[in-house]
């Protein structure tokens, strides 16, 4: 086998692993979120299907699959059909440049082909030089899915939801981008692997300590980007029914939901990789592998799970913003705060020499 075919084969396997895991995580997340929210609100949540209600996502999937697909008579047919696809495609595209866990060596089992034994791999589909910028570009494209969904249905509520989501994502993208600037300055690279590598050692080396203002801005802007409470105005059900996906039913509704949850997971993974030290344990001296298993996956997975839990926690705790408050907060608080932090850090780097 030529090296090119080997690389191609590995890439295909990685894509299958990442997309499969994300889809599994998406369905599991719907259950975890509903159960956790229920406990926070003194309810039980879905607990009838399977042990602890664990099969609820499967039941939901079957239900959505067999439901009738309704399309409004006045809808713009092709755009209406394409919008959920755009939403999911952009959400999945962003996951291609994110590292999931540490680089590791494959075990030297004898049944593996020789070129696979002991090969260094990482669950990362494309290690782009401009990784962070790529994510930024793709999330910027992600707006189109929501906007087109809102416009194509030709319904007032959908259109209002679409307008709201485009304005909101547009405003908060600026703060989101600014919150990454100081990380890029400190790591001198757009590559996520480099940023993670810069956080090795003790846990006070993690970016969340030094770049705490950036972390706050990132967390708030990112939860606005994925339109979670308290920023879920694009689908505020007490005002505009369900916003841009009011008219969607059946599997297309499921596709839009899938896009949203994959975006949420992406945001959590990015928070882990960029700010929370990635797969570094935070305590030097802990071995990197245990019986050949790279322990980095454990720390990394725990951090991602924690960030996801905080998102659910916020949803169970906070009320929704008013629209003018949302715009005011984005433009007059988050963006200036991020810009000031960039200037402070840039000044510090310039005065104290290169590197954070």
């Amino acid at each position: 086998m030529t090296p090119f075919t080997q690389d191609l084969l590995i890439a295909v396997v990685k894509i299958a692993v990442v997309i499969g895991t994300l889809l599994g995580a998406f369905s599991l997340m719907t259950w975890i979120e509903r159960r956790t929210l229920a406990f926070m609100q003194y309810r039980l949540g879905p607990n009838r299907t399977g042990p602890f209600g664990l099969f609820q996502p499967i039941a939901d999937g079957i239900k959505l699959f067999f439901k009738e697909e309704v399309m409004p008579a006045a809808a713009d047919k092709w755009t209406f059909l394409a919008a959920p696809v755009v939403a999911v495609a952009t959400a999945l595209l962003a996951t291609a440049v994110i590292p999931y866990g540490p680089p590791f060596s494959l075990p030297g089992w004898s049944w593996l082909p020789e070129w696979l034994q002991g090969r260094d791999v990482q669950i990362l589909i494309a290690d782009l030089e401009v990784g962070l910028l790529f994510i930024f570009a793709v999330t910027a494209l992600g707006v189109y899915g929501l906007v087109l969904a809102g416009w194509a249905a030709n319904s007032k509520y959908s259109l209002l939801g679409g307008l709201r989501s485009s304005a909101q994502m547009f405003s908060y993208e600026l703060a989101l981008g600014l919150s990454w600037v100081t990380l890029i300055m400190a790591a001198q690279s757009f590559r996520i692997n480099d940023i993670v590598a810069g956080q090795a050692g003790w846990f006070w080396n993690w970016n969340v300590v030094l770049h705490f203002p950036a972390f706050l801005v990132y967390f708030l802007a990112a939860s606005a980007e994925v339109a979670r409470i308290p920023f879920d105005l694009p689908e505020g059900e007490s005002e505009i029914v369900a916003g841009f996906h009011t008219e969607y039913s059946s599997m297309r509704f499921a596709l839009i939901q899938m896009g949203e949850y994959i975006n949420l997971i992406t945001v959590a993974v990015l928070a882990t990789n960029l700010f929370l030290g990635g797969w570094n344990s935070g305590i030097p001296g802990i071995p990197e592998t245990l019986l050949g298993f790279p322990l980095g996956f454990l720390w990394w997975g725990a951090k991602v799970a924690f960030v996801l839990f905080v998102f659910i926690w916020l949803r169970g705790t906070l009320p929704r913003f008013r629209y003018d408050q949302l715009m005011q907060f984005g433009w007059k608080v988050l963006i200036p705060a991020a810009a000031v932090w960039v200037m402070i850090f840039a000044g510090w780097v310039a005065l104290a020499g290169r590197g954070g």
């Binding site: 910027a140 494209l141 189109y144 809102g150 259109l159 307008l163």
Partner: protein, 163 residues
Amino acid sequence: MDAVLFYVFAALAVASAVVVIAQRNAIYSAFALVVTLCSLAVIFALLGSPFIAALQVIVYAGAIMVLFLFVLMLLNVRREEDHPAAGGRTLRGVGLALVTLLVLQAGTVLLRSDLRPAAEFDASTVEMAETLFSPQFLYAFEATSILILAALVGAVVLAKKEL
């Protein structure tokens, strides 16, 4: 591999650019323009400049076109009415002649050149930025920015009947 990708995305860019002009539905036009911009970004990436490719998508497809779509949706532009082109036959004839001339010229240029990059371009993003902000190019660079600003102001003046 690169050549195949180039031809695929170049064809996509041209085809969607044609759709931008030919399409009567303004939203479809805007969406086709997004496809054009993204294909151009892929071509930039193939030329060895992923930074420019990412900026292309962020600035044009991600920011400017979202604003376009936002305005189109606010105005609820559905479909431009079919109306005869202003100026009548003579103007259309002249336009067609000009387009033919342009296509012929483009063809001659393509035939004469040997279609290779002028020089091996292998500068990093930082070097590129340093060149761009060097005294050699700084004036042209800033002048372009002022030109774009002037165009923006002009667009506002044209669009608003009363200021």
